[in-house]
């Protein structure tokens, strides 16, 4: 069987001379496995095995005492999952609050970082400007720094007497107490038009144990500061991706459209945007995948407070397991989050695979050749 696979691989590889040198390659089977063995052991032991263990724990009520793999640990079946969705109670309310918070977070972070990254890439890609590489590095630098260290800086910037409020003060605005302010931004907007308390229709009866009024809160003021931090740190990375995409837009095409009398906006709208559509898609999906994983910033800056408005599923799963010692529930939350992220990843990879098979036809100008196998 092994030889079959080998021949198949060799044929599939399609490199002629290799087949002749079979004598040299005879011990490659053993060597190959020895070479990959350390990686297999480490990833198997600390990635695959733990996922299976957590799957088991999510079906139990293990409280952290002793080993979760003995008969003493109460097996509860799917209860840890059902209490997140169907049973009214604190667990569901917290979980749904965290989902709501993260949805608003994604809804702001993803568009904001995409637009900012594209804008920065367009400016940095401008051939008439000097010193671009300095600015490119400056925009990218926050992306490589420690999320914890940068969160400390933003804690200071958004402190009550911090830089952001000082800046707002120059503009005559009285800044909020960012990390103590649990008011939802949408609620504040409703309040601005005179709707301060929930209308009767929204006061109760929303899905999954939260009222419609709660679902419509919008991100809290505290969450806005975390959103600002994340957009600020991630835009640089996505800017580099857009830059790579922009460099694939042939200059001749841009010049041709200029000759045809296209305005700058028309060139952007009808030449640049369509040409970088694959990159845009990549940035949007990577952004969504990343935004569901926000953890470090929440841990350092707010720990889910104020009033649970910066709680995210990732942080909630950590808190449920390691602070409340309810490892089963925590693991169940992790797996729901896992599912959300995997669905997004599958959508992304599908679309990228389609784009790659499309490429030879319409991607004549692309300098990169996909090496995916």
């Amino acid at each position: 069987m092994a030889t079959e696979t080998l021949t198949a691989a060799a044929t599939a590889g399609g490199v002629g001379p290799r087949r002749r040198s079979g004598g040299i390659r005879s011990n490659e089977n053993l060597a190959g496995w020895l070479f990959v063995a350390p990686v297999i052991v480490i990833l198997g032991l600390f990635l695959l095995l733990p996922i299976l263990m957590a799957l088991w724990v999510s079906l139990t009520d293990w409280n952290g005492q002793g080993s979760p793999f003995t008969g003493d640990v109460p097996f509860v079946g799917a209860h840890n999952y059902t209490q997140l969705f169907t049973e009214d109670g604190l667990a569901r309310r917290d979980f749904m609050t965290s989902i709501r918070n993260n949805i608003y977070y994604v809804a702001i972070v993803v568009p904001a970082q995409t637009v900012l990254a594209l804008g920065l890439a367009l400016v940095v890609n401008n051939r008439m400007l000097k010193g671009k590489s300095f600015f490119r590095s400056a925009f990218y630098f926050p992306s490589v720094t420690s999320s914890v260290a940068i969160s400390v800086v933003f804690l200071f910037l958004f402190a009550n007497s911090g830089a952001v409020n000082a800046l707002l003060g120059f503009l005559g605005i009285d800044g909020p107490e960012w990390f103590a302010d649990s008011r939802g931004v949408l609620h504040l907007l409703f309040g601005a038009v005179g709707v301060d308390s929930p209308p009767a229709a929204l006061a109760d009866g929303g899905p999954f144990g939260l009222t419609w009024w709660d679902w419509l809160a919008g991100p809290s003021v505290a969450m806005i500061s975390i959103i600002t931090l994340v957009v600020w740190t991630t835009s640089g990375t996505f800017m580099l991706m857009f830059l790579a995409g922009l460099q694939n837009v042939p200059v001749t095409l841009d010049e041709a459209s200029t000759l045809d009398g296209a305005s700058r906006w028309q060139r952007f709208r009808y030449v640049t945007v369509p040409m970088i559509r694959p990159t845009t898609f990549l940035v949007l999906t990577l952004g969504m995948i990343g935004s569901w994983q926000v953890f470090d910033q929440v841990y350092v800056m707010s720990q889910g407070d104020p009033a649970k408005t910066t709680l995210t599923p990732a942080y909630l799963s950590y808190r449920t397991a390691f602070r409340d010692f309810d490892y089963g529930s925590g693991a169940a939350i992790s797996f729901v989050l896992f599912l959300i992220i995997i669905v997004l990843t599958v959508i992304q990879r599908r679309a990228l695979a389609e784009r790659d098979t499309d490429r030879p036809r319409r991607g004549r100008w692309r300098r990169r050749v996909p090496e995916r196998s």
């Binding site: 990833l43 926050p142 260290a149 400390v152 402190a159 990169r368 090496e371």
Partner: protein
Amino acid sequence: MAVLTDRPAAAPARRQQHAARTLATRFLGYATLVFFGLVFLYPFVIQIGNALKTEPDAAANPLSPFPDPLTLAGFERIFAGTNFPLWLGNSLLVTVLVTIGRVFFDSLAGYALARLRFAGRGGLFAAVIAVMAVPGVVLLIPKFLVLNQLGLYNSYAGLVVPLLADAAGVFIMKQFFESIPVSVEEAARIDGASIFRTFWSVVLPMAKPALITLTILSFQGSWNEFPHSLVSVQDPDLFTLPRGLADLVSGSLGKGTQYPLKLGAALLATIPVAIIFVVFQRYFVRDANDGSDKG
């Protein structure tokens, strides 16, 4: 962007108008660059300035980068009043071990997946791609479970061993090895060199750019690594820098906000990565662009 200059057909009037527009574009371009340059760099300037201030000064003038009076008290307290030196040592140890491990193990596996023909190779590569999609944050509880079960919880081994290999690194190395011409190593093999010998003395030296990229990424990744230390240790003697920093912020300092101290500690934790970024910038940029390829 692509405003063309010296178009022979253009009438003089149009050319003049054109030149004015070019100038305006350029001005607007620089204004945007400088504005965003400030947005992205000024927080670091504020951080450095305020780390050197007294606490009342930092509270009163948070926007000013100039300390008045300038004081090193914050830094003195970092070294005298916190476990910072210990965290620094732990971080160095973990980072060095993890970087060495990743570069070595990822290259070995990347080479095997790129060049060696063995049963199950295709399946293994598919597994590597699948593993890259597993989000780190959902592994918090799982990692704790396995470390606990293996008796590695609260130990240096627990901090280091799980990070010794990563799928993305294997992927980078495999892609690079595939781009090296196969003829050189075939010559070595025909001369009777063993597979490992060929890999070690012929292929690896040619893979220097990829090795540098991987070294930098591993260094940066493990130096900044936070969630893993959160679930693998709880003994303060085993804290790494990000963990210690998070601990400082969440109130282990006691009285006052002590922002100069916190900003200083965060600054010291950022410096090594900043130096590497400045020196090896192009390798960072390469990585981000690879990212757009691998998806």
